[in-house]
Symmetry: C2
Subunit: 151 residues, 2 copies
DNA sequence: TATTGTTATACTCTATAACTATA
DNA sequence: TATAGTTATAGAGTATAACAATA
């Protein structure tokens, strides 16, 4: 990254977009957990989906709306998770068009793992900034996320 | 998103990953500028690349390292931008393997636009949180991004 | 007819592998 | 032989369009 062939180094006064991107990347790395990979088939998008399924289960349409994606795309992820035993689903009695999606026990474990990974990063950040500054940072994020047009 | 078919709403106690994601999404939206689209062919990834090209130009290899992506992937974006007149490139005298990439004037305009879009969002955030809290927030992000394993 | 979910297809972003030209 | 960049290909993530089953 140093000067090569007489060309100076790249301009990089990081703006918020970059900063947020780096922080998010750090979380992704922790969730994938490097070489460990406790849940080999799972990618970050799958952890995200598993995480948003409530204990009673949810409909594909609602999950899609909540994730801000299409039913088609979300349904594909559900199939993927179901094939690998992280989720299960059944047609709803009373309205057989609806597929009620639930996490399996294995899906619960994966979700717990991902949440723990995120908690580890938050822990590290809190140590780096100090508990109070980190709490402020987090609170600021919450306030910035409220009432924003998600799409 | 409300209760349907007797199913309760989705669990969504947003964790940092979600919060960061929402914030980043807000920036992306502003850069794409909804229906306006001042630079129709440009996607967020292109603005990012344009933004990291210094005035003297840069080599593909260096840009790739800086962006944390492969030369192949980056080179593809460069071609895309060049075809549309946002970037230009020439083999370097003294080492003709090297392609020196520069922004065109149109590329400069696009970059200025993207930076202004980001500035608008920062402005809005600063108003929402207050200037001081926003400055703290931003500073926290800077510190969290320092010394992290980018890849 | 409206709604839920599916199948088919395509685009975006990025990666790996194999290659060419130049040094 | 090493380095800069390219061509070919693939996979991950998501979208649009057209459809089937059920209500």
């Amino acid at each position: 990254m140093t000067s090569v062939n007489g060309l100076s180094r790249l301009a990089a006064p990081p703006h918020v977009a970059n900063l947020l991107g780096v922080a998010l990347e750090r979380l992704r790395e922790q969730i994938l957990a490097g070489a460990e990979r406790p849940f080999p088939g799972l990618r970050v998008s799958h952890y995200r989906l598993l995480d948003m399924i409530p204990p009673e289960g949810a409909r594909i349409t609602d999950l899609a709306a909540h994730a801000g994606m299409t039913k088609q795309g979300l349904g594909q992820h559900v199939d993927y998770l179901q094939e690998r035993g992280y989720a299960e689903s059944a047609r709803l009695e009373g309205d057989r068009r609806v597929r009620l999606v639930r996490r399996t026990e294995k899906g619960d474990e994966a979700t717990a793992f991902a949440r723990a990974a995120i908690a580890r990063v938050e822990q590290e950040w809190a140590e780096r900034l100090g508990a109070e500054r980190y709490a402020d940072f987090r609170q600021a994020l919450v306030e910035l996320g409220v009432g924003q047009p998600t799409r």
